[in-house]
């Protein structure tokens, strides 16, 4: 466990000292919410403002992007060399890839919490008031899912470029279908039916249900599904991770 803790600490240091990643997880979602919120200002009521809507959807989109960060912290060009020393060291395999998932989730949770606080103060985004903790539980599970899925892809595909391409395509598709940036229900029955397949839609519905209805009927199934899929991804990582693929 000592080595595991040391590797986790190093992964956290690598994430928190990278200015690009800090920008990507703080300034980017903050600016995205402000821009979308401002552009759609006239289309929303006073009860649920455009900033409320895009504040939440941008958080979901950003949580999914935790996958990209996990892939980077595993295989990014500058990190891959020193990470290779971990393969030579007497540490169990899971201590190489598993801390990447935990570090990514800690890093994104800290950054997105800071962004949420800033959005709350500046444009009064509603994050669920007394139910914020449930909303954050959901977001953290989305981050765990995204990071686990990404690390699994790294273990299977062995290249960061291929993983990033797949993740980028998958995240964009799921968020568009999930109506994160614009509602898709008005685009016809077929599109609505397809959008039901996007897990992002259900996460967004669950989030809005927690915030505005104080209901948790979608939260439990969403959490269970995300947790189960994450565990499956980690098990697949265990199966596919081979040290010799990295030398």
């Amino acid at each position: 466990m000592y080595q595991f803790r040391r590797i986790l600490k190093m992964d956290l240091v690598n994430l928190f000292t990278n200015p690009m990643w800090l920008f990507y997880t703080t300034a980017f979602p903050f600016a995205l919410t402000l821009i979308f919120g401002f552009l759609a200002k006239g289309s929303y009521s006073d009860n649920i403002t455009s900033y409320d809507f895009y504040g939440i959807t941008t958080m979901i989109y950003s949580a999914l992007n935790a996958g990209t960060l996990a892939a980077n912290s595993f295989m990014e060009k500058d990190i891959k060399g020193p990470n290779m020393r971990l393969i030579y060291a007497p540490v169990p395999s899971f201590a190489i890839y598993f801390p990447k998932i935990i570090a990514t989730v800690i890093f994104t949770t800290v950054c997105y919490t800071a962004v949420a606080l800033l959005l709350r103060v500046t444009v009064h985004v509603n994050f669920g008031e007394t139910n914020t903790v449930y909303l954050w539980l959901l977001m953290i599970l989305v981050e765990i899912f995204a990071a686990s899925f990404s690390v699994m892809l790294c273990c299977v595909l062995k290249t960061e470029a291929a993983v990033n391409q797949i993740l980028s395509f998958a995240i964009t598709l799921m968020t568009l279908l999930g109506g994160v940036f614009f509602p898709v229900d008005g685009l016809g029955k077929a599109v609505t039916a397809v959008s039901n397949l996007s897990p992002v839609k259900w996460v967004a519905l669950s989030a809005f249900q927690i915030i505005y209805d104080g209901k948790f009927t979608l939260l439990l199934p969403a959490c269970i599904i995300l947790a189960v899929v994450s565990v499956i991804c980690i098990l697949f990582s265990t199966k596919f991770f081979k040290t010799e693929d990295f030398v």
Binding site: Y2, N14, G81, P82, R85, L86, Y88, V91, E244, V247
Partner: protein, 312 residues
């Protein structure tokens, strides 16, 4: 001498291509074993098998009589690895890098600090211990790359071309440090493209080509292999019309290599045949500019055994 690593009849393939063929050798305690070979000879694959990272299809890899892969984590604890590429966290200091990598081998607390100090001193980086690695020169990074591998005081140190692209001063520092480590009882396994390094530090040499060992022994023994021959370098105006078969007809000629303006011949020392060699040029109306005779070096041994230059 005690064998601390033993490889027997090892076979390794990538997809359908066999890259290691029937490889057998021992590594003895306290030696500096240099592994030489042209690109694609199987050196890196052999090193990766020795680190325990790479599996193999057939054969045996033992340490102190035990199968390495049955006790892999214990075995890895005894190793220090210096990868060919710089493997350091550039945003961190030298001290942070050494402490992190040494801690992976179980060092903590005072023992970790002491080992880190010793490694920094060894690498000559004590004064810049707090500086970020990205501010270091290439030579300093290479030295730190080694320091990170020895902080936990491994029994066996494996270095994969550790002096690539550095200045002579840093190279000398690294080579003398390696000899110092050996004097302290560490066993060293070393690959390089620089023959002068092998001449300077090796206690034993393995020459590989095509996934096999083509020769092994102390450098004096290897030189003995080709000592019965002498090598002529003949610089000429041109080599048009010269056929190597003409030289092979001369008694004692063992090896011929013809390039645009030079002919190299290896011939038996016991046969006086220079006049007949010169007459081939005269018959072909080729003007000889100079003739030199080379004494046996490791480079010659390597060339004769593999047919390739070390940097091929």
């Amino acid at each position: 001498m005690e064998a601390i690593l033993s490889i027997k009849n090892l076979e390794k393939s990538y997809q359908a291509k066999k890259v290691i063929k029937d490889l057998s050798f021992d590594v003895h305690k306290g030696e500096i074993l240099c592994i030489l070979g042209p690109n694609g000879a199987g050196k890196s694959t052999t090193l990766n098998i020795l680190t325990g990272v790479l599996n193999y299809e057939d054969g045996m890899f033992q340490s102190k009589g035990k199968n390495v892969h049955d006790h892999l984590r214990l075995f890895k604890k005894r190793l220090g690895i210096v990868p060919q590429d710089i493997a350091l966290y550039e945003e961190l200091s030298a001290e942070q890098n050494i402490k992190f990598f040494a801690s992976l081998y179980g060092l903590k607390g005072n023992a970790l600090s002491t080992s880190c100090n010793q490694a920094l001193e060894f690498a000559g980086l004590s004064e810049r211990r707090k500086d970020k690695v990205k501010t270091y020169s290439g030579g300093m990074k290479r030295r730190l790359n080694i320091a990170c591998a020895i902080a936990h005081q491994p029994e066996i140190l494996i270095l994969d071309e550790p002096t690539v692209g550095i200045d002579p001063q840093s190279r000398n520092h690294i080579l003398s440090s390696i000899k110092e480590l050996r004097n302290k009882g560490m066993t060293i396994i070393y690959t390089t493209h620089y023959m002068e390094e092998v001449e300077e530090i090796s206690t034993r040499i393995i020459i590989m080509d095509g996934g096999r060992i083509v020769a092994s022994g102390k450098k004096e023994e290897l030189k003995e292999h080709v000592n019965e021959e002498r090598l002529y370098h003949i610089d000429v105006d041109h080599t048009e019309g010269i056929n190597e078969k003409e030289f092979y007809h001369i008694e004692g000629v063992k090896h011929v290599s013809i390039s645009a303006s030079q002919v190299e011949l290896a011939t038996l020392k016991s046969v006086e045949n220079l006049d007949r060699i010169i007459s081939v040029f005269i018959q072909n109306k080729v003007k000889i500019n100079s003739i030199s005779c080379e004494s046996t070096s490791l480079e010659t041994v390597f060339l004769r055994l593999t047919g390739k230059s070390l940097r091929d």
